[in-house]
Assembly symmetry: C2
Homo-oligomer: 323 residues x 2
Amino acid sequence: MVATRASGTNAVRYGTMKDVVLALEVVTASGDIIRTGTRAKKSAAGYDLTRLMIGSEGTLGIVTEVTLKLFGISESIGSGLFHFTTIEDACQAVMLTIQMCLPIARIELLDAMQIKACNQYANLTLTETPTLFVEFHGTEAGVREQAQTFANIIEEFGGTDFVWDTNEAERKRLWQARHNAYHASSALRPEASALSTDACVPISRLAECVTATARDVEESGMIGPIVGHVGDGNFHVLLLVDTNNPEEVATADGIISRLAMRAIDMDGTCTGEHGIGQGKQKYMDQEHGNAIAIMQAIKTALDPKNILNPGKIWPQPLAVTAE
Amino acid sequence: MVATRASGTNAVRYGTMKDVVLALEVVTASGDIIRTGTRAKKSAAGYDLTRLMIGSEGTLGIVTEVTLKLFGISESIGSGLFHFTTIEDACQAVMLTIQMCLPIARIELLDAMQIKACNQYANLTLTETPTLFVEFHGTEAGVREQAQTFANIIEEFGGTDFVWDTNEAERKRLWQARHNAYHASSALRPEASALSTDACVPISRLAECVTATARDVEESGMIGPIVGHVGDGNFHVLLLVDTNNPEEVATADGIISRLAMRAIDMDGTCTGEHGIGQGKQKYMDQEHGNAIAIMQAIKTALDPKNILNPGKIWPQPLAVTAE
């Protein structure tokens, strides 16, 4: 049995991190060690502290143990990748796949610049256009059938060069480019710092959001490859920035800020995985409105002395706006 | 598209209620209307108020709107039911099904007394032994394949009389007995009150917990059919009690209490769906230990005047043990 990489590439089929964590051991602000949840799949006994703690970035307690749901390794696994003319076509194919409820295990987008980076990094010869990496889990017949349905979908959007394999070594080779994405991108401009940002939107807005973001990056003249866990409507932009150049930093900030607002305007979130930290505190009001007061009341109640990761999620000192 | 009956029978494939709710509109204790979450599938922006509110029984806010994930209706749906000699065999079949990760959409257990009740209620002729009702969702070939795998599993545990259909009318007829379960049980003793309780345990402890509970009910001499959303490790006992008879009430309380403690001892929960309300407050300490202080701190912070469903989950007046 394996735990799924839930918050990343495998989230479509197996759920996000919040779906696969059953319980936590947490050290609270008072130094008590509590246990949130049990090994039961569901509970209606009191408040869900497990999911409150997940994503709280250490501001409500320190997680010292995690109990995960496990999933068996599928009888058969099929991997494939294929190319599109535009990033919009690739995203439209993802949207139809998800809306048809095809039980795809992974579906990852790499834009043309990211593919170029992967080619340079690992001496590959992938076609340098927007590319989807996919994986199907199931029985042998089930995987074949899913792949066929998926092939029909991508045909509608002009997808080409469908490569497909169920052999483990070959699958790993296909995915290697995806797994190298971060380092490959960084190598595009080794002297720069890699500034990674992410956002998540409803699936129906994915093509629009990714396309607008790619255009924004292009128009800025920055190097910023896009990689997306697109089955969740979640994607990342890795901006390669010379942090000693104030103009570049300002350009990067503009891209990040416009992406956050674009996602929020689409009824999405300014971060699907990375968190608020310090850099995204300025979008909290816009995204959550007056729900902020409830969050801050919880922070104040659970950490009255603000000793748990102070300055993260909330400004330092904590501006208490609790009721 | 349909929203799944997530907290009940369809939870195995589509997740529990907490997995399918994206966002809520909530009225807080101060009278503010907040929105928790967006339409994005995941977010790392601040605290997860959505899942904190779900299951809080109105003690942290009043939910006035729910945004749900939707799932398409499957191309093919297959339903079946079959009988076992013992409730332990039926549960062992469930455990193997879940542990094999067969993507079953529903798997429901009705014990012999419940089947008897259904027969009497709707003039059916089902074999009066522990019975599993199942449903598979997928493509035509996928559903056939799942059904075949499942047939192999139940054979191991002596399952018989496998009835199987993909025709909608016939499927509905098969499931009718399950859907009538509550009323059918009540009709076993119309003058009594139906006292429903539930618990949820890790799948690996399901057979042990259900078997011990069934034995406890039998030894008590009470009428208490068992119906389970067993794919989640969750099951219900419907005790038919003459509430004017203190001895019967005490017997029922004993069964409920022993079930709660049995589930907690198995690293499960004293309630998978029904909630704490008033009746299960006495198990909160046992299940949550010192995590109770964190829950109460949240209650006090969000509802300082204790005006939100006072007396539910927490004793009235609220014993403030917050840090």
